[in-house]
Symmetry: C2
Subunit: 398 residues, 2 copies
């Protein structure tokens, strides 16, 4: 497997574009990704009890397992918008089908931005001809930029992998920043591949891949109403069809996992106001659920995140967060390492190691490792530190 | 019932003092509360899997339901300190009994401060004679100050209530600030009363009162290793003994609830860096657990808390947090009010009301009310906003 240039248009016969529709002031805010032929499609959505209109519409359409285009706007979430929101999401998809030979049901929609404000769907409809006119392989960068909200840079990647003697490509773009949490909060990701693959295998690989990537990141513990991951597979690579559970399936999953993990890490690194990327790993737990609970509690602790921002090895906050996860463990077996230096061993703090760890915290990537020494289960969560800039961005955004 | 002057020394025959032992630089850091006679005693402790040494010792001692003194230090949590920490906590209690005619087992201990650093118990032992020498009714203020960490002001209250023709008094001091969360994170509270009351009634009233006060506050969602609430009842008021479930029990609980709620609100108001006090109430839920989950999710949302700091009525963040609590509800029945103004009704946002609500957010106390209109259960959580000063305090504390 190797990383190649581009993103969603790297696989055969995919085009993309991004334009300014006017939802945002003079910024790219509308993106389109199209496959030349109808593709197999799968999706994963937010678990929030409140679902935005585009989530409801796309979830319904994906039941058929087919799609050809994805239209996405930023600047408005089309959420808490009632019946009109649903109509607007459908109108948005029809705008594409009106100008191209694509079945309305083969268009997926996604939105991100302000909640509770009517979607300016007229602006979107008016911008679609321009959007279609700009479709191209090079359009993927504009598309990646058009889905950004407070992201500081577009997140894109593509990989190529050999399956049965043929080159199969997978590409993706994503947006994240504030409100990123386990369970994919206000996170959008659009994946494309030219792999020839069974629908069942495509669905399963996406679900598993999201679990270990986007569901393993957290910026502030919040989960949004609009989280969406789509994958389109147009099967044009000419590889022998990938069947669920086969060796080729393993290769495909490995490549897909690389793409999603890379985009997920980019999202955590670009968390609002983030100055440091933090990986929290919990091992030696009795089961995966316990490990994940503790890892998330540490990664979501404002006290741990501010200590990291202040570059202080505050072991007490890490230990206290671990203990607050609602999982019982023996304090006398607890080991905690920061950047590979074991500062808690068997529940005792090696206070003299603090200066060494403190120096290490000046780095921009930090690994916090907790070992319960009580089992074999393991979990990993990616997050970022909590800075004054996070508060500034989220208190003074208007 | 009326609020009276003072705090823990307002009930008959209680004395208190606070001194500088040298754990902190030139600040009060050691407190003592003593009843003239052995008292009935009850306690509630942290649910963190990691418990500080003083929590372990006091929990054990409280099994007898008796105590006469409480010694507390700030500046060091005596947590993650292993066997030596346990010994130090016992030494700390013995220091009191060495100089006074109090049984060692009748002394409760509590600590708050840095985790993982050995307790400078010699400093505490050396300071005890001075501490005992300063015991008095007026000493309650020094005691309240000595248990503070990043608190900006001491938290104290006392009330008097008529039970069976006699005046019964209840007093309390508390400390809170950072790391306050449901489940009483790094929160200490010491209560005294001269009520004559059954032990069973005392225990039950404390447990219920804590549930609706200290367990209903959150500053940053973190739960500490040292949370402790003690109550001593020396039974000197001469009232007919209060029995569990009686009318007098109801009167006693009402007064105790007033004391704990008042201290809990003070803690939320004095949350690190807080500029606003926020009450989140969730009603119309199917059961209390659902209501509490949603209230806590909103109260712990960094996005909601920063929006309040920025005085912006960001309904989307409130709705999204409500939906992220893992509780299913119907969006079409959802009502949300801010300061009594209904801005979401039946899942639809009254966007035109925003300016009116925005004006209201300039106040220092804000009520966010969510109605699921699906049942009769109710929950309330108190919190504060999230400001840049919170991050400053918690990133640059050393």
């Amino acid at each position: 497997m190797k990383v190649i240039n581009g993103s969603v248009t790297a696989p055969r016969d995919f085009l993309a574009a991004g334009v300014k529709s006017g939802i945002k002031k003079n910024r790219l805010d509308l993106a389109l990704i199209v496959s030349g032929i109808p593709a197999l499609a799968a999706g994963v959505f937010t678990k929030n009890a409140i679902k935005a209109a585009p989530v409801i519409i796309s979830e319904k359409r994906l039941k058929r397992g087919r799609a050809q285009a994805i239209i996405v706007n930023s600047g408005n979430a089309n959420c808490l918008t009632g019946k009109k929101g649903i109509d607007d999401a459908i109108e948005m998809s029809k705008a594409v089908t009106g100008s191209m030979w694509i079945n309305n049901y083969n268009v997926l929609v996604a939105s991100t931005g302000v909640i509770g404000k009517p979607l300016p769907v007229d602006k979107i409809i008016a911008a679609v001809p321009n959007l279609i006119g700009r479709l191209g392989v090079a359009g993927e960068l504009s598309a990646a930029k058009a889905i950004m909200t407070t992201d500081l840079y577009p997140k894109r990647i593509a990989v190529a992998v050999n399956i049965g003697g043929r080159t199969v490509k997978i590409g993706g773009i994503a947006k994240g920043s504030g409100m990123i949490s386990p369970n994919m909060a206000t996170m959008l990701c659009f994946l494309t591949t030219d792999a020839d693959i069974e629908l069942k295998a495509l669905k399963r690989s996406l679900r598993d891949s999201v679990e270990d990537s986007f569901n393993a990141i957290t910026v502030d513990g919040d989960m949004s109403t609009n989280d969406t991951v789509f994958i389109l597979a147009n099967c044009l690579a000419g590889n022998p069809r990938i069947r669920y559970g086969s060796k080729d399936y393993g290769i495909f999953c490995g490549a897909l996992d690389y793409v999603t993990a890379s985009l997920a890490k980019d999202i955590a690194k670009d968390g609002e106001g983030a100055s440091k990327f933090i990986e929290v790993e919990v091992k030696g737990a009795k089961n995966k659920n316990d490990a994940a609970k503790i890892a998330k509690e540490i990664a979501n602790s404002n006290l741990v995140k501010t200590a990291m921002a202040g570059e202080d090895p505050n072991i007490g906050r890490i230990a206290s967060a671990a203990g607050a996860a609602g999982v019982k463990f023996e304090e006398s077996k607890l080991d905690i390492s920061i950047g590979g230096i074991k500062i808690v061993e068997g529940g005792n703090v090696a206070y003299q190691k603090r200066p060494k760890v403190k120096k290490l915290l000046k780095k921009s990537e930090i690994v916090i490792s907790v070992d319960l020494n009580s089992g074999k289960a393991f979990a990993k969560v990616w997050t970022c530190d909590l800075t004054e800039r996070y508060v500034k961005i989220n208190a003074r955004y208007n």
